[in-house]
Amino acid sequence: MSEPILQVKNLKVYYYVEAGAVKAVDDVTFDLDDGTKMGLVGESGSGKSTMAQALMRMIKPPGKIEGGEMILDGVDLVKLSTEQMRQTKLRKLAMIPQGAMNALNPVMRIDHQLVDGMLDHGVTLSKQEREERVARLLEMVDLAPKVAKMYPHELSGGMQQRVTVAQSISMEPDLIIADEPTSALDVVIQRQVMETINNLQERLGLSLILIGHDMGLMAQTVSRLAVMYAGRMMEIGATYDMFRDPLHPYTQLLISSLPVLANKGVFAGIPGITPSLLNPPEGCVFHTRCPKAWDLCSQSTPKFTEAQPGRWVACHLHTA
C-alpha cells in the first residue's frame, strides 16, 4: 500500500464579490496515491480549475483559500510562505498550462526557457551542463534537438505544448497538475502529447492530476477519476468503476450523456442548470437537478464517505 503523495482535507476556496462569497471550492477532501494518474472532471464553474490554482497557490484576490489543508509529501502547502511556495513549485509540484501559446515567452529561445526555471530555483549549471539538460529534456518529450535554438512561433501547437511539458519536468517534481493540456489540439496531436505525458509519468514515477471536461480523454489516460459539481466533490473512484458503475446520480447522468460507439443518435443531456455558487442550494448541491432526490437531500449536506474500498461518494443514497 503506497502512501498518498497528496492529501487535500476540507479545502475551501471562496471568491469575495460584492454580492457575497462565491464558494468555488467547498469542503473538498481527497487523497492521491504516489505514482497515480487522477482525472478531475466537472462542468465550467464546477471548481476544477480553481482546485488546480489552489494547489499551485495561485489564487488571487478577491479569491482566498478560506480553510483546509493541502499536504504534499508531508508539507501543508496552505501554511507555506510565498517564498517557500515559490521554492516548492517546479521542485515538488509543477503545472502544465492549458494554452501553451500563452505560456511561452515569444522572444526567448526554447533552450533558455527550459532552464530558466532551474536557474531561478538556484541550480547552477555550466554552459555544457545546460546544453546537456536541454538536450535531455527535449528528447524526453520527443522533440528534435534543433528545437533548442528555435522560438515558440516556429513550433506547432503540439510542439509548443511539449515544451511546456518539458518545462514542468525540468526539476523532476513529485506531482504534476495538467489543466486541460490538450484542449487546443487536434485529436491526433492530442493523442501524441498525452502519450508523451503518460510515458514520462511512468518513467519518472510522477503523480499526475489531469483536469478537464473531456470524459473520453479521461477514459483513455487516468486510472482514478474525481468528479466535481458546483464546488463540491461528488465522487472519486477507479476510472473503470466510475464508468461502469457510477454511484452518484450526477456521475450516472454524466456517464449516460456521453456519446459512445454503441448508442449512435442518443442524445441525453442533464436537465436543469448549474446552481449559482453565491447561493448554492441547501443540502446537497445537486438535489435541484437530481432525479433521485428526496426530502433529506434538501435538508442536509451528504458527507463525503468511503462507500466501497477506494470509492468515495457524497450522496445520501450511499451514506445510510
Binding site: 503540439g158 477514459a219 443518435g265
Partner: protein, 337 residues
C-alpha cells in the same frame, strides 16, 4: 435533375501572397440539395480546409478558382432581393456562443431582429409567440431566457438560442461550424439534439463542420474527411468510423478518445509518422509524408477517389483496384440506395 440549392464547382481557395501560398481547399465539387434532408459532416484537423468550405458556402469570401452557386447563380455576385433570399434560406450556427451576441443588448435581439427583417410576424404578440415557440423547441424556458443579457446565460443556453434563431427562419440549409466545441460536454448533447430535431422535423439539411469525430458519428448520416484541402475519404458515416479504409481516416479514428474504458486507443503502428515534417509542394498524395503505407506511386500524382462501396469512396492507391469516382461526382455518394 433539379438545380442544387448551394454548390461548389471545382472550387480552389488559396490564401497568402504569390511567394507564400496556402492551398486551403483544392478542387472541391459538392452539391447541397434542399430536397435531401440529411446531415453531412466535413471533418479534419486544423488546416484541413473544413472551415474554409463553410465560409465559401456562406459567401464570406469568394473562391480563387471555380464557382460557388446558389440556385445555379454565382453566390458572390448576388445582390438585393436575391441576396436577401440567400440569407433567409441558408442559415449558420457558429462556434463561439460568446461572440455572436452584443453584450449590451438583450438576447431577445438575436430572435426579434430576424423576425423584423424577414417580416415573419404581423404583430408584436405574434412575434413573441414565434420566439417562445422556437426557444421551447430547443429545450429553453422562454420566461427564463427572454429579457436577459448574454452574460446572464450559460454558454450552452446561448448556443441553443443561436439554434432557435436558425429554427425560426425555417431555412433550406443550415451550416454549422463547430457548434459544440466550446460548450461543456454535459451540454453538448442538448444542442446536438436540437440540431437533430430541426433536421428530422422540418427536413432541414445540415452541413456540420467539426474536428470531433465522436459528435460527427452521432449526428450525421454522411461524412467527408478532408486533409490539407483535399478529400481523403467520403461517404456513409457508420462504415467510415467503424471500418476506416484510408490510412489518414484510420489515424484519425484510432485517435478518437472514446469515453469508454473498454475501447482503448488503437495500436502504435499508425502513430509512427509524426507530423513534424516540413510541408513543401507535394506533387502526389498530400498525406504521403505521414503515411505508414507510402508507396512509390504515392509521390507521382494525387490519387483519384476510388469507389469502395456504393456510398463510400477513398482517395488512396491502396484502393486502386476499385472503380474511379470522378471528383466532381462526390455528391453521388450521398444518396439513398
Amino acid at each position: 435533375m433539379t438545380t442544387p440549392l448551394l454548390e461548389l464547382k471545382h472550387v480552389t481557395k488559396i490564401f497568402g501572397t504569390k511567394k507564400d501560398q496556402t492551398v486551403a481547399l483544392d478542387d472541391m465539387t459538392l452539391a447541397l440539395n434542399e430536397t435531401f434532408p440529411k446531415i453531412i459532416t466535413v471533418a479534419g484537423e486544423s488546416g484541413s480546409g473544413k472551415s474554409t468550405t463553410g465560409m465559401l458556402l456562406l459567401g464570406f469570401y469568394g473562391p480563387t478558382m471555380g464557382e460557388v452557386l446558389f440556385r445555379g447563380r454565382p453566390l458572390y455576385e448576388l445582390k438585393g432581393a436575391d441576396l436577401f433570399q440567400f440569407r433567409r434560406d441558408v442559415q449558420a450556427v457558429f462556434q463561439d456562443p460568446f461572440a455572436v451576441y452584443n453584450p449590451f443588448y438583450l438576447v431577445d435581439n438575436l430572435l426579434s431582429i430576424p423576425i423584423k427583417n424577414f417580416k415573419l410576424a404581423s404583430s408584436k404578440s405574434e412575434a413573441r409567440e414565434l420566439m417562445e415557440e422556437a426557444l421551447e423547441r430547443v429545450g429553453l424556458r422562454p420566461a427564463e431566457t427572454l429579457g436577459r443579457y448574454p452574460h446572464q446565460l450559460s454558454g450552452g443556453q446561448r448556443q441553443r438560442i443561436a439554434v432557435a434563431r436558425a429554427l425560426l427562419l425555417k431555412p433550406k440549409l443550415l451550416i454549422t461550424d463547430e457548434p459544440v466545441s466550446m460548450v461543456d460536454a454535459s451540454l453538448r448533447s442538448t444542442i446536438l439534439k436540437a440540431l437533430r430535431g430541426l433536421n428530422k422535423e422540418f427536413g432541414t439539411p445540415i452541413f456540420y463542420i467539426t474536428h470531433d469525430l465522436t459528435t460527427a458519428y452521432h449526428i450525421s448520416d454522411y461524412i467527408i474527411i478532408l486533409y490539407r484541402g483535399s478529400v481523403m475519404e467520403a461517404g456513409n458515416v457508420d462504415t467510415i468510423i467503424k471500418d476506416p479504409q484510408h490510412p489518414y481516416t484510420k489515424l484519425l479514428v484510432s485517435s478518437i478518445p472514446w469515453p469508454d474504458p473498454d475501447l482503448v486507443w488503437g495500436g502504435a503502428e499508425d502513430m509512427i509518422q509524426k507530423s513534424q515534417v516540413a510541408f513543401k509542394a507535394i506533387t502526389g498524395c498530400k498525406f504521403a509524408p505521414r503515411c505508414p503505407y507510402r508507396m512509390d506511386i504515392c509521390d507521382t500524382k494525387p490519387p483519384d477517389l476510388y469507389l469502395l462501396e456504393r456510398d463510400r469512396a477513398a482517395a488512396c492507391y491502396l484502393s486502386m483496384d476499385n472503380a474511379v469516382l470522378p471528383r466532381e461526382e462526390l455528391t453521388s455518394l450521398f444518396a439513398e440506395a
